[in-house]
Symmetry: C2
Subunit: 460 residues, 2 copies
Amino acid sequence: MPYFDVASAAPLHPVARQALLAALDEGWADPARLYREGRRARLLLDAARETAAEAVGCRPDELVFTPSGTRAVHAGIAGALAGRRRVGGHVVVSAVEHSSVLHAAEAHTRTGGEVTEVGVSRTGAVERGAFAAALRGDTALAALQSANHEVGTVQPVAEVAEACRAAGVPLLVDAAQSLLWGPVAGDWSLLAASAHKWGGPAGVGLLVVRKGTRFAPPGPADERENGRSPGFENLPAIVAAAASLRAARADAVARAGELRALTERLRERVPLLVPRTEVVGEPERRLPHLLTFSCLYVDGESVLSALDRAGFSVSSGSSCTSSALTPSHVLRAMGVLSEGNVRVSLPLDVRAEDVDRFLEVLPGVVAGVREQLGAPMDEEPPAVPSPAPLVVDTLGKRCPIPVIELAKVFPRVPVGTTVTVLSDDEAAALDIPAWCEMRGQKYVGREGTAYRVRKTGPGA
Amino acid sequence: MPYFDVASAAPLHPVARQALLAALDEGWADPARLYREGRRARLLLDAARETAAEAVGCRPDELVFTPSGTRAVHAGIAGALAGRRRVGGHVVVSAVEHSSVLHAAEAHTRTGGEVTEVGVSRTGAVERGAFAAALRGDTALAALQSANHEVGTVQPVAEVAEACRAAGVPLLVDAAQSLLWGPVAGDWSLLAASAHKWGGPAGVGLLVVRKGTRFAPPGPADERENGRSPGFENLPAIVAAAASLRAARADAVARAGELRALTERLRERVPLLVPRTEVVGEPERRLPHLLTFSCLYVDGESVLSALDRAGFSVSSGSSCTSSALTPSHVLRAMGVLSEGNVRVSLPLDVRAEDVDRFLEVLPGVVAGVREQLGAPMDEEPPAVPSPAPLVVDTLGKRCPIPVIELAKVFPRVPVGTTVTVLSDDEAAALDIPAWCEMRGQKYVGREGTAYRVRKTGPGA
């Protein structure tokens, strides 16, 4: 059964499994103790730190293990902010950071801090100039991901790090999605990552704080992990995480070309096989194994369920798949279609035939959901426009219904007509403009729950 | 090789190992995802929560998994304090809590909070009345361990919980040392525990927040674990933790009598076999598997190393075994001898012959260290007191030297003489009075680095 969601969590790498098993026997004791079991645990911990530091490209004493990537991000941001409290309370982040970064920024604003979110291009890329322009004299910290977790866009970390250095601002890099593929280049100050993204076990994150970076963990601390990650070390998992980073990266480097070819195949074929579909994210500067697209007139949840029944595990940034019923903040920041969103992230051992089978199955899956929802796939407008309402009331209806109802009405109205869609669904703010762009119509604007669209051409 | 330090970390229980292996294959995916791997992970997580809740005696929705016992304590204290911010910022803890509780209390005082430490008896027991008397109108939270981690004393949690309920103050119970042995009785509000103390894997703690307890996690949160423990769940370890709690508790209940008999044997025999030794902690209300004693005229580190060479792994609260070179805060709060401190905590599968061998080895180990340090073990004072200095200058010398130097001088001075020991070692504050009590001499008092002791009898 092909699992295409390694960007959420990768299955355990065989080396991780092997190392974990060995460390369960050798590394269960407290590495702070001086007796033989403790010394053995300490040796394992030290060796794991060295291995991980080598893979990151830092000194072992700059790296601590945390209970997860999220905790690494939280600890990194809190420590850097407290360490630079005198400089100020301003933080710069990109608008497409992982939620762990945005949650930490949010928590910072709750205690009086200020956060600037730097926007991205339609492909999800941060622009160095825009990021640099957001840095201020009172900026305590900046944060930028190495690559985006939802669309795979690789960010210009080295350039942004340079701008941050010039401004005297430490840069924290969330490297969760890219550390598997190689070290993060550039003169960054802090780095966070997560083992279960590279085939390591759950329960292990990395936090790197470069020498010379002011850092003061604000919460309760103990003597473990250099005072930066309290609590008994999750040692067997740490050993497995470090061993598998090295092994999985070797695999990743060897397989990168093949994976890029497979995602390239998806990038080319999906829009041909599935009409009304937009591939989102950078075409070139992107992760090799990840591809995201959105399909008009379907809800992500139905597509995911149907793909699941067909044996494929993928994820989605559509609002219907989020417990808050809002589209992914990444797609929102990019200003792209969020309905029918599908993220495919391939495992290192993916078989080309499984990707081909996915391409075989996908068109039927999407068509099935569209049929069920009564989506208007007919390209031809009626010869004589029939009377149609100029206000489409979809209040209380959720994505993709507002867009479907709009699309149903459109062929029936004459060119030049302005149609108003009433919608209180958050996804509409993204999906109605995106529909206009995809269908060559004019998005006039929005007032509250009223979206206005002018018919400028025949296609709908 | 007998490992007698399960109070630090217990070796993995066979059931934990088995469950962990199974869950590595079945439970690596993100339990928040809707595809089959995610649903499987969610089922495992739900089942683990139910198993753990049953063992604790709470509802599953009251229990979340954290990355460690320390993190459970930190999150529990921070959440309870933030939830009751309007009530006030006063916290009551016992003076013998685990360092994770004291560190959280310390962090609280750094942000303007106030902490009252309730003292304990010479056996390490909290007294209900003293604890109740510390509760105030502005007390936001109280914390009491179920059993002490260094001396095994069981605390009157149910009685203290009753007093807290009466005062409207939530009580957090650190149950790390006792959850293996059974649920914590009483009407407590929050509970924290740690899996690697019961033979579960590292990387898992429990935090229970009873319904009706005000709780507001102050830091960045996500949707995992009810918003109380951010970051990807350490699922295979969680599954192993829950399974092993049930299994290990059954073992513990079955073995409790035998373990109590073995620690009772230690309690009786150690003072007989090793002169100048004090067993510390409660004789009756105590954990079945744990015994702590202190030996005059030796340093804990040398004893631990010698025992390690003889094949025994134990721990110590002596100052020389702490990186801060201060005696354990538990021994300090109890006011007992800290030098030559040894904690023995027996694993469930301990063999009686290993305990006997420990009793065989210990006297020689202690005697060897004493000999090396030139400790005065001769009971007989010289017939005619020889001239001796009345000021013993041990400034710059560490435990156990100040006490050894005092003991060397004492037999040579006449009854009624007051000897002054100069010491800047923190352990002296504990060990000189303890020496006086053990040797039947009069501790007069201390002024700065000067300790005065009066000779009231022949024995030294």
